[in-house]
């Protein structure tokens, strides 16, 4: 079987597994784990937004929690204030996050490397402190709660998030749609521009690429991904809180993205999944499991710079060709 054939097969199997979750896990007596899988799906989008920036345009953002927070509050405030439905609220959350990413990106993408990482933290801290001190609007630390409107309501037919299956599949469909869009993006002409900027921004400008706008486009799209993540998390948790805008949330997303493998499409899902499952399994037995998470982060950076997805990729390659990975896929975006 060819490499790409194996990848497609793997993607299909993964999708089938995810679809089967609400039936299989409860049957195994692990109903609680359905929610864990939902959480993994949601957070993997935040990791994907870090991944898009770091893996495809070469910018390390330590402030994606800001756009996550805007996604959250976009949903909660629009429902509490205007009483809008599920989809408009989701759209408002994503638009709020993207708009914020656009406004901050105008300044942030003028900088690169350390400076970019620092300014993204600084922007997120400013809004974190602002959200913390505007309690009347954001609820500050305690947050705001709300009752989610039905996902779909036609006559007497209603799909409500209160139904565990409806909630899971709503999340699954939206997250998978985001990954599908990201797949299209990284294989598109714009995606190639991203990679050109990542590889060599001077040469990129010298073939006629507007490096600034390319970075800004990536930053806004990453903000939108973080926004979807935050919006879904608000629906999932039935609340929004300013504490999710703190830079530790951004940092966690960076850890998930790096452990999963930057520059790979499903890396964020792998990294988020591995670390959240690890947390669930270990934290009950060992309160201080974060020591292990920190150690894993450092070890992955040192010994597995392409992350779990990179390791998996090498395995697939070996299975397909019977030998160790060649240069064929490195840097190419079509890894599934």
């Amino acid at each position: 079987m060819t490499t790409s054939g194996l990848r497609i097969l793997f993607s299909v199997v993964l999708l089938l597994v995810l679809v089967a979750v609400p039936y299989v896990l409860p049957a195994l007596g692990a109903t609680f784990w359905v929610n864990i899988v939902s959480e993994i799906l949601i957070w993997s989008l935040l990791a994907a937004s870090v991944n898009l920036l770091l893996g495809y345009v070469g910018l390390l953002s330590f402030g994606q929690a800001l756009y996550f927070g805007f996604g959250m509050y976009g949903v909660v405030l629009s429902i509490n204030t205007w009483g809008v439905g599920f989809w408009p609220a989701l759209a408002i959350g994503v638009i709020a996050a993207s708009a914020m990413a656009f406004v901050t990106g105008i300044f942030a993408v003028r900088l690169t490397w350390h400076y970019f990482a620092i300014i993204t933290v600084v922007f997120s801290l400013i809004f974190y402190f602002a959200a913390m001190s505007t309690k009347w609007l954001t609820g500050g630390d305690d947050g705001l709660s709300f009752t989610p409107p039905p996902v779909l309501s036609i006559g007497s037919f209603r799909l409500s998030l209160a139904d565990a299956e409806v909630q899971y599949y709503t999340i699954l469909v939206i997250v998978m749609a985001c990954f599908a869009l990201k797949y299209l993006l990284v294989n598109s002409a714009l995606g190639l521009r991203f990679m050109a900027v990542r590889e060599n921004d001077r040469r990129a400008a010298l073939i006629g690429i507007n490096v600034y706008f390319t970075r800004l486009a990536a930053f806004v799209l990453a903000g939108a991904l973080a926004g979807v993540s935050g919006a879904l998390f608000a629906f999932f948790g039935r609340y929004a809180s300013a504490s999710y805008m703190f830079y530790h949330v951004s940092g966690e997303a960076v850890v998930w993205a790096i452990v999963g493998g930057t520059g790979s499409l499903l890396g964020p899902l792998a990294g988020t999944g591995a670390l959240i499952v690890f947390r669930e399994l270990v934290s009950t037995a060992w309160e201080h499991y974060l020591i292990a998470v920190g150690a894993i982060t450092i070890l992955v950076v040192m010994f597995m710079p392409r992350g779990l997805a990179g390791g998996w990729d090498a395995l697939i390659q070996r299975a397909a060709t019977g030998k160790a990975g060649t240069s064929e896929t490195a840097g190419v975006a079509e890894k599934a």
Partner: protein, 252 residues
């Protein structure tokens, strides 16, 4: 625009770095249809001149007229779109991508293609143009290789393909044969000669043998301004040029 319009017309161009004058009120018209070469001792300001033309560093004063417009103050990517491409002294390509994708990006950018949804690899006309360019520089058998795995000479050729993808009217080559072996040099020289038939070419080169062999017109720079201009034989006979080179021998 008359038929005799120069390829590039520079007047009073000045660039200072922290009080040090790198390009000092330089004025010159580079004729169209000729292969122009810029030579001069190290530190004469040749690469700075290229950086000013491509908009990578801002000028302190002066004008650069290209295709009927002053291009001073334009961004590098705008200048590329107006028809000036360049190669760099230290060859620069997209190392982590395949040769094919390198050229494809340049072609798509030239075609103003930036759709976020259509697969870049399925665009027919761009794919055809990409293959043509790769064939033109002679890298067809390497098209699936990573750019970072190419030999030095092949990287230079790939960089040339990237520059050509923008269909430039003017091509600036910064030391195109620097670091090449004799065979690679010959291949590159032939390619440049062929290109200069249809594109205006300006090159910076230290290898005098190459310069005197291919250049129609030579401009000698020293201390940021024009020391002499003329054909190869005129320059060879120019006493000021000899002085500049003998007075400050190059340590290469």
């Amino acid at each position: 625009m008359s038929a005799a319009a120069p390829a590039l017309s520079i007047s009073g161009l000045t660039k200072r770095f922290d009080g040090l004058v790198a390009v000092d009120g330089l004025s010159i018209d580079l004729e169209s249809g000729k292969l122009n070469a810029v030579i001069g001792p190290n530190g004469a300001g040749k690469t700075t001149l290229f950086n000013l033309i491509t908009g990578e560093i801002p000028a302190n004063a002066g004008r650069i007229m290209f295709a009927g417009r002053d291009i001073i103050g334009l961004k590098p990517h705008d200048i590329v779109r107006r028809g000036i491409s360049r190669t760099l002294q230290i060859k620069s390509v997209f190392g982590g991508l395949t040769v094919m994708d390198n050229v494809r990006i340049a072609v798509l950018t030239h075609e103003r293609m930036a759709s976020p949804f259509r697969s870049a690899r399925s665009l027919r006309s761009a794919a055809r143009r990409t293959e043509e360019l790769i064939a033109e520089v002679g890298l067809s058998e390497h098209s699936q290789d990573l750019a970072s795995s190419l030999s030095y000479g092949d990287v230079a050729l790939l960089e040339l393909a990237l520059a050509l993808a923008a269909e430039p009217k003017l091509l600036l080559l910064d030391e195109p044969v620097c670091g090449m072996g004799p065979q690679e040099t010959e291949r590159a020289v032939n390619m440049i000669r062929k290109l200069s038939k249809r594109i205006d070419v300006v090159l910076i080169e230290h290898d005098m043998e190459v310069v005197f062999d291919i250049a129609d017109y030579i401009m000698v720079m020293a201390q940021g301004s024009v020391l002499a201009t003329g054909t190869a034989s005129e320059i060879a006979a120019n006493s000021k040029v000899q002085e500049a080179y003998l007075g400050t021998p190059e340590d290469e």
